[in-house]
Structures are given as structure tokens and as C-alpha cells.
């Protein structure tokens, strides 16, 4: 399984990520997820979210999740980009892509990965008023 993990303070460039996608002939499904900063958090209007990451542990925990994904599903490629630092409202903070033979496993793995991230990957949010 190909893996790409990017933690970045730069805006997520979907178009360039998609342009770099490679997939082999046996692959029939690509699922992309984009998480976007919403204009309110806990009912309060915000202008941005500041993401803090325990960088080294983030990388390690994501790779533990990738290891487990690889055991569970026949995935060819996983790519994940997470912003750190200040992300303005309406900007994406997370981009995930799964390439797999069939849609069932692509959807399952993508959702499982995001759920796993929200459980164990040490990233925190702080609303910016």
C-alpha cells in the first residue's frame, strides 16, 4: 500500500494532489474526503481554527492506522494531508484519498481512517474569534 502523509501550514491544493494521483489497472474506486472549517464552533461564530499537532506522534499514530488499514482492506494507496496552524473558515483542514479495487472498501477505509484519526492522532483545535 502506498502511503503519503503531509502535515502542512500551507493551504491544501486539491487540484495538484489529484493531478499527482497514480493508480494501477485493477483499481476501480477513489474516495476523497475534504474537511472544511465551518463558520461556527459550539454555536459561536469563528473566523478560523488554529490546529496544534504533536508532530512526531501524529506521524507515528497515522502510520499505525495505515498499518491496520492495510491488514483490513486491499487498498492500493492512501494519501492524507492535514493542516497545522491557522486555517480560516471555508478553507480545508483535511484531505484524504483512498484508492482501492472496489467502492465498498474505499468508503469503509476512508471513514475508518477519519474515525481513527479523531480517536488517537494528537491534533487539537482552538477556535479563533
Amino acid at each position: 500500500m502506498k502511503r503519503e502523509l503531509i502535515l502542512t501550514s500551507e493551504p491544501i491544493n486539491e487540484a495538484s494532489l489529484i493531478a499527482r494521483r497514480t493508480m494501477s489497472g485493477g483499481m476501480g474506486a477513489v474516495v476523497n474526503f475534504l474537511g472544511v472549517v465551518r463558520g461556527s464552533e459550539d454555536g459561536k461564530t469563528i473566523s478560523a481554527i488554529k490546529y496544534e499537532a504533536f508532530d512526531k506522534m501524529v506521524r507515528h499514530q497515522f502510520h499505525l492506522l495505515f498499518d491496520e488499514m492495510e491488514k483490513r482492506w486491499p487498498i492500493e494507496s492512501v494519501r492524507l494531508v492535514h493542516r497545522v496552524g491557522v486555517v480560516k473558515v471555508n478553507e480545508p483542514s483535511l484531505w484524504v484519498e483512498i484508492v482501492a479495487p472496489h467502492r465498498g472498501e474505499a468508503f469503509a477505509a476512508c471513514q475508518w481512517l477519519i474515525d481513527g484519526m479523531k480517536r488517537i492522532v494528537p491534533i487539537w483545535k482552538k477556535p479563533v474569534a
Binding site: 474537511g35 490546529y51 496544534e52 499537532a53 504533536f54 512526531k56 506522534m57 501524529v58 506521524r59 507515528h60 499514530q61 492535514h82 483542514s93 483535511l94 477519519i114 484519526m117 479523531k118 480517536r119 488517537i120 492522532v121 494528537p122 491534533i123 487539537w124 483545535k125 482552538k126
Partner: protein, 81 residues
Amino acid sequence: MQVRVTFYSYFKELTGCGETTETISAAADLGALHEQLMARFPKLATMRRSTLLAVGVDYQTRDYVLKEGDEVSLFPPVQGG
């Protein structure tokens, strides 16, 4: 024995510092260190049940026995995405 402790997210506000060094007795476990830190930083105790504990880049449970040079992290529930 001394261990380095790092706080993340609003634990930094609760303790008023991002990093500290704590002196612990030999063979103390992570639970004992947590108790010691809550005694030193009482606001940490409000988060007692939801505190996540890591040594290096791995989560550890309270019965993990600390070793010289361990880098311990304490932080609240994670919120990526």
C-alpha cells in the same frame, strides 16, 4: 530519576507551561507521575479522567513503568480533522 513532561493543547494553559521536568522515584509508573503532576498543577486534576498519556510517540496506560530518559506527554482528547 527525572523525566521530561510536555503538555499539549489547553493543558498548557492549565499548567501555565508547555514543558517541565519532574523528579520521580525509581520504578514509578505513569499513574504515579500523573498524580504528582496534578498535585503540582491542581487545574490538571479537573481533566483527570480524560487525560491522555503518552511516552515518546506511543500511548501508554497508567501502569507503564517509567525509565530514565522517557519523554512523557499529557494532553486532552484529540480533535483532528
